[in-house]
Subunit: 376 residues, 2 copies
């Protein structure tokens, strides 16, 4: 955390799109998930791709977190350099990065994910350091992993891992990404129940055939937020919950006042006749991702920003369109009458992970900043 | 251009998403636009937001370009630091950056864009260095600018500029961004013709009322690519044409083999039963933007990459889905049979500007790289 002479609210800081992070909201979000994990008797291995920041990582460490998830070898290396010693790379192990992975496994307990026996063999032949091997099961997302119904294929990968000297069998891992199109809390709960049921089935078959104790690792923010007590899994890997965003709130996974990020954007044009204003802040800052809020597809919700900490207004402007650097916000006549060129609005982002990935620096109310890992 | 010991095609370079730039395609694209501008008797002021790279900027300079467009004060400062002396910031002048703008105007001929007389006055009161003042006219995009039909409002801004000592009247500027939903070359030509007609109307009225010589500046890659001889404008500001992309090719503004960027992505999973493979490369590299190709909405077109320069295959895989780091590619059985885990595919991006903005480094066939401006 680098201290800064210019405070958070000084014009010098907010003259251009600036990503504000409210540590009290973020720490509250972390602490609620830590408590739920304890209550449920599951390991919380938060996904650090959401923030990609060693500084923010320390907030997790202060709440007792020692196991983390990342989405690339570069990210694993960055967090290893910042003292993290138990890291799962939750995307399929990339054979082209084998040497870097092996070097990393020398200094941290590294979890890798496989969905193909041949790739397990490639790693087994080349690794000189032990890793933990997870089998990815597809519980309906259709991205990567072995379909949960294909017990035979899961067993093939399991046997390859059990037979490998350099790969310790860890268990079954899944990401139920289909939950993001669930649309309602009850649908989230249904998908989650089905996910756990499918994994349980697969685990039972494996136990019968190859024995041993295999863990189950699941992880998506909506189900981890909405399920009261998580059962059926040994480990959860939510990431987004530290910040939350409009996609999460539209599913019902958070309230708007739990969203810990706001992009401060200068107002550069006001168009009363069409009920809109223009902000300096676009796809290069918020990303092109969107969420459906009150029936509108938006890239963010905007409100005038008066202080370093924002509060939730009775009415929002909708960021309906973004070009590379400019956003167009639709607002009621009442809201619009309070907006002038030169004002700064705060925008709650549709997708916090992609916004953080673009901005790569968090501004804190005390004038300090939290830095993200370098792009490459 | 920093030379590199590891060549472009070495596994060390291509083990993770790597943005390849073919300089012969890019320079061909530049040279065709330079020739067209000469033939049409218009000034070419290319938009540098597409590449944000001083190295790539030199390629333009070598072809005689001295006037450039950027989309932020930070970008103007970066290119000023790299020797560019005539820069238009083509987004509305941001009052909160007035001091930085003034400092910049001391060392470069700086063009600013206004659509409101009051903001002109704010700048006039504070500037200690002269700038060129453009009036933004909205010719149908509906983003920023004064609607072309509102001659009175245009005249108000024009009078404010003419009356200002620190702001030289430059003319009328527009960006016909609505052209991106045109869908066909003939629709592009229609929108362009209407744009020029509207601007001509506005200019005629202004000439009658306030006299003086006002230029017209237009700029979007589709019309600048498709119109044979550009008339009715004094200046064109296309940006994307140096790289082109799937959005441009789907409009008919370029051929696929003119696209100068390809994102090299390792294959990390193959799913023959569902006709798909997974790549390391997702929204964090390509952005979430998409284009419609052969009736499918895609984030990119993928083909096996064997050498540093790619050629256009008879058949593509469609990048149909991207999560933060992973992309899912749908492919025919024939194409799929040639793909294995550990291969590298090249992905032509849906939107080159946002891909470059995310990757911020171009890899060249000779093993060198071209760097982009720092994020902030």
């Amino acid at each position: 955390m680098s201290p800064s002479a210019t405070g958070f609210g000084s014009p010098g800081t907010l003259a251009r799109p600036t990503l504000l992070l409210d540590p009290s909201k973020a720490n509250g979000n972390i602490s609620r998930m830590v408590e739920k994990a304890k209550r449920s008797g599951v390991r919380l291995r938060p996904h650090f791709k959401t923030h990609q920041s060693a500084d923010v990582g320390e907030w997790f460490r202060e709440q007792g977190i020692v196991h983390i998830t990342v989405s690339s070898v570069g990210m694993a290396k960055y967090f290893a350099d910042h003292g993290w010693r138990d890291i799962t790379i939750a995307t399929l192990a990339n054979t082209l990065e084998l040497r870097e992975i092996d070097a990393l496994a020398e200094r941290v307990r590294l979890g890798l994910v496989f969905d193909c026996a041949e790739i397990v063999t490639v790693f087994e032949k080349s690794l000189s350091n032990c890793v933990a091997g997870w089998i990815e099961v597809d519980t309906g997302y259709g991205r990567t992993g072995i379909p949960a119904s294909n017990h035979e294929a899961v067993e093939r990968v399991a046997r390859a891992i059990v037979g490998a000297q350099m790969i310790d069998p860890a268990g079954l891992i899944t990401h139920a990404g289909q939950i993001y199109s669930a649309g309602s809390p009850s649908a989230v709960l249904e998908i989650h129940a089905r996910e756990v049921e499918l994994l349980d089935d697969v685990r039972r078959c494996l136990r019968k055939d190859i024995g041993g104790s295999l863990e189950v690792s699941i992880g998506d923010t909506p189900s981890c937020s909405l399920v009261e007590k998580l059962s059926g899994a040994d480990e959860i890997r939510p990431g987004n919950f530290i910040f939350y965003d409009l996609q999460q709130s539209s599913i019902g996974a958070c309230d708007l006042d739990e969203i810990a990020l706001s992009l401060a954007c200068p107002v550069i044009g006001v168009y009363a006749s069409r009920g809109q204003f223009a902000i300096y802040g676009g796809a290069a800052h918020l990303s092109k991702d969107s969420a459906v809020v009150q029936g509108k597809r938006v890239h963010g919700l905007a409100t005038p920003l008066r202080t370093a900490r924002w509060s939730i207004p009775s009415e929002w402007g909708f960021v309906e369109y973004v070009s590379q650097e400019v956003g167009i916000v639709s607002a009621s006549r009442t809201l619009l009458s309070t907006i002038s060129v030169g004002d700064v609005v705060g925008v709650l982002p549709a997708h916090a992970c992609l916004t953080a990935n673009l901005m790569r620096r968090f501004h804190l109310p005390d004038g300090g900043t939290a830095e993200c890992m370098p792009i490459r």
